[in-house]
């Protein structure tokens, strides 16, 4: 695997993680994943989740720029955001647990990908 | 933006000749024709006064024109009364046209 594909992979992984972090901080989505609906997420947990999301979005932008340059990278970032959001929404609708599980995997994989790139 | 009252009052299956349809036709005509007039007049005025080579000034006017047009169409449907709507479209359009006519192209060729 070349460095180039690693950057693209990092951009996708980070962006998917970000969407999952934002969505799972919302009660209406998180309770579809963890059916234990009686305990709402604590406020700190929700804020932490959103923070992870924001950081991942920023890092995926960096990955895009280092792959495609400033101009192309900005365009590509929107494309990556759109594609991963669509994938996440689709999974969340039809297989919520898989959507969250994938997010766990991308959360673990994306720092590695970002580091290697 | 508040939806215009005439739109709200309209129900499916209402008679074609009811005043609601007059309101509607009036707003459609204002949005499409009046909006175009405003967008064109504004862009012409812009292309005359911008301090840049004339080709660039015309291009800038063209780039901005559709944003003006879209805003004008939204205004045609959002304004609370027909009076306000026509006023808001025609006065700026006439002002732009008048200024443009008075100054003429003053940019460097």
């Amino acid at each position: 695997m070349t460095d180039m594909t690693m950057e693209i992979a990092a951009a996708f992984l980070l962006s998917y993680t970000a969407w999952a972090a934002f969505a799972l901080a919302m009660r209406k989505h998180s309770r579809r994943v963890w059916s234990d609906a009686s305990t709402p997420l604590r406020r700190e947990t929700r804020m932490a989740s959103r923070l992870v999301g924001a950081v991942c979005l920023a890092l995926s932008f960096i990955a895009c720029v280092s792959q495609w340059g400033w101009a192309g990278g900005s365009v590509a970032w929107f494309g990556v955001l759109t594609a991963t959001a669509l994938g996440f929404v689709f999974l969340l609708a039809y297989a919520p647990r898989l959507a969250a599980g994938t997010a766990g995997a991308t959360l673990l994989a994306s720092p590695a990908a970002f580091y290697i790139m | 933006m508040r939806p215009a009252r005439p739109m709200k009052a309209m129900k499916e299956g209402e008679a074609v000749l009811s005043p609601v349809y007059f309101y509607l036709a009036s707003r459609l005509a204002a949005g499409i024709a009046g909006g175009y007039a405003l967008a064109a007049a504004f862009s012409v005025w812009l292309s005359f006064v911008l301090p840049m080579p004339r080709a660039d000034a015309v291009l800038t006017g063209l780039l901005a024109s559709f944003a003006i047009y879209a805003a004008a169409i939204l205004w045609a449907f959002a304004a609370r009364s027909l009076w306000r709507m026509w006023f808001g479209l025609l006065v700026p359009a006439a002002a732009c046209a008048a200024f443009a006519w008075l100054t003429g192209p003053i940019t460097t060729p």
Partner: protein, 508 residues
């Protein structure tokens, strides 16, 4: 605003669906070209720029001596072909000179041999020229529809009060609710693209739609408009023909010089003005592909070969203009970004389709029997399901119409529109629910079986293209199969849903 959104979207929704679908295909126009020319050998390494320029020059000198301009398009990353174009000087009546073009195999330098086809270019051009119309009429229709689209987008943002709260919300199997969710998700997630593609679409023909703005400064008419464009692009820097003939300087060293500045493979094309004249100019363009379409341009004296000037700087409005057009076309996009463009554009197509279906889903209970409702419903079926079938038919026609047939390229396009018309007719003569099911299954078959048809009629099928790693060809077959699978999935879930609701309504 809700009213405006609904009707701005509905009135021209079917035309917009056509524009989005054919425009989406346009992101892979070159690849579709290749697939529709199966006689061509599998892509091989193209010749180096220097030799390609020499081969092109030789052809042009033979085909168009005394031309006003010769163009040589060098092999790029998407296409290994060598593209030639020429324009003859204006006649005594002042009319612009005749033009000609040729496409050469960059491995052999010989003209390409393949079946007569409009290819991906024809499909892509349909999204603004509608194929059967004079260009100007078509461009106007496209412009009006695009303006409706812009209004629909802006009003859509205004009326969608829960953009962030519903950002990830898609509830399946909920009827009208699901269609609204789908329409919202497809709109919101790709909103930057929708806005960009719509506004820039208007900008392409802004000089036409807003002709008074150009005319106010330059005067009305085609001639004055050309003055405007020449000023804008700086094309007026090329001197007139001097008269006395002079030999053209050898191009090799010039291309080499350009390649040194732009990087290997970085030279995109050459323009040779006034070839054979003392005032000949050679402009070599290239460099990294960027959204702003900016290229490094080197201008050489055509007889001495001395470098006159490197790129001229552009104004901010010029760069904005070029960036809007560049973002729309996506010509700068490499493979990964090109797929993202394709996916996002597909989402736009699907958004329009979902919006059209939503209109009927919302009204079925109340006004389901009216003529207007039925008309919309049938146009929906014949377009949302029928138009994709018609595009598949365009590809089927490419393989099934005999290679030697007179005018076969035109018939490929006719086949597409005949099939579309048939789908609309079918929708009008069948009960709506059945028409949906039948057309969705037909779409599944039409796309899913294309790779098989390809294998039966050509030797450029997946069994060959996959081992050879000819991705532009293999990718086409696989994508078509993917579309077939997607249509089959939709058709299947429709069948399951209908069976469920039938069970519920049957009294015990």
């Amino acid at each position: 605003m809700g009213w405006l959104h609904t009707w701005a979207g509905l009135v021209v929704g079917w035309v917009l669906f056509f524009m989005f679908l054919t425009g989406t295909a346009g992101y892979f126009d070159v690849e579709i070209d290749r697939w529709m020319q199966p006689e061509r050998s599998l892509p091989q390494a193209a010749m180096p720029a220097e030799r390609a320029a020499a081969v092109g020059l030789k052809r042009l000198a033979a085909a168009a001596p005394g031309a006003e301009r010769w163009f040589i398009g060098l092999p790029g990353y998407r296409s290994p072909d060598l593209r030639l174009f020429w324009r003859m000087p204006p006649g005594p009546d002042g009319k612009r000179g005749a033009t000609g073009r040729a496409q050469l195999d960059a491995a052999t330098g010989e003209p390409l041999q393949h079946r007569d086809t409009g290819g991906g270019q024809l499909l892509y051009r349909m999204h603004y020229d509608f194929h059967y119309m004079p260009h100007k009429v078509a461009n106007w229709i496209a412009g009006v529809c695009t303006m409706f689209m812009l209004i629909a987008i802006v009003t859509g943002i205004v009326i969608h009060k829960r953009i962030f709260a519903d950002f990830f919300t898609f509830r399946s199997h909920k009827g009208q609710r699901s269609w609204l969710d789908a329409h919202n998700v497809l709109s919101v997630l790709a909103l930057p693209y929708h806005l960009m593609i719509t506004y820039s679409g208007l900008i392409f023909f802004a000089y036409l739609y807003m002709a008074p703005v150009v005319a106010a400064t330059y005067g009305a008419g085609e001639e004055n408009r050309r003055v405007y464009f020449d000023e804008l692009s700086g094309r007026d820097d090329i001197p007139e023909r001097a008269g006395p003939p002079a030999a053209l300087a050898p191009l090799g060293p010039l291309v080499k010089d350009a390649e040194r500045r732009m990087g290997a493979g970085g030279v995109h094309y050459l323009n040779i003005y006034n070839p054979g004249d003392a005032n000949a100019r050679v402009v070599i363009a290239g460099g990294e592909l960027v959204p702003s379409r900016k290229r490094t341009k080197l201008r050489f004296d055509g007889t001495t070969g001395t470098l006159l000037r490197a790129s001229n700087p552009h104004s901010a409005s010029y760069v904005t203009w070029q960036t809007l057009l560049g973002l729309h076309e996506g010509l700068f996009a490499g493979p990964a970004l090109r797929w993202l463009y394709f996916l996002t554009a597909l989402m736009g197509t699907a958004m329009i389709g979902a919006g059209l279906v939503l209109w009927t889903a919302k009204r079925r209970a109340k006004t389901g029997g009216t003529v207007g409702f039925r008309l919309v419903e049938k146009l929906n079926i014949g377009t949302v399901a029928g138009l994709p079938i018609a595009v598949a038919a365009f590809f089927w026609a490419n393989r099934l119409i005999p290679v030697g047939l007179e005018g076969r390229a035109a018939w490929e396009a006719h086949a597409m529109f005949i099939v579309w018309a048939s789908m609309l007719l079918h929708a009008f003569f069948r009960p709506a629910s059945r028409a949906w099911g039948e057309q969705l299954w037909l779409a599944a078959g039409a796309f899913g079986l294309l790779p098989l048809l390809n294998a039966l009629t050509t030797d450029k099928h997946l069994g060959v293209t996959l081992p050879a790693r000819a991705w532009e060809l293999a990718g086409f077959d696989l994508t078509m199969f993917g579309f077939g699978a997607a249509f089959a999935w939709v058709a299947l879930s429709r069948m399951r849903k209908n069976r469920r609701s039938a069970k519920q309504t049957v009294p015990a």
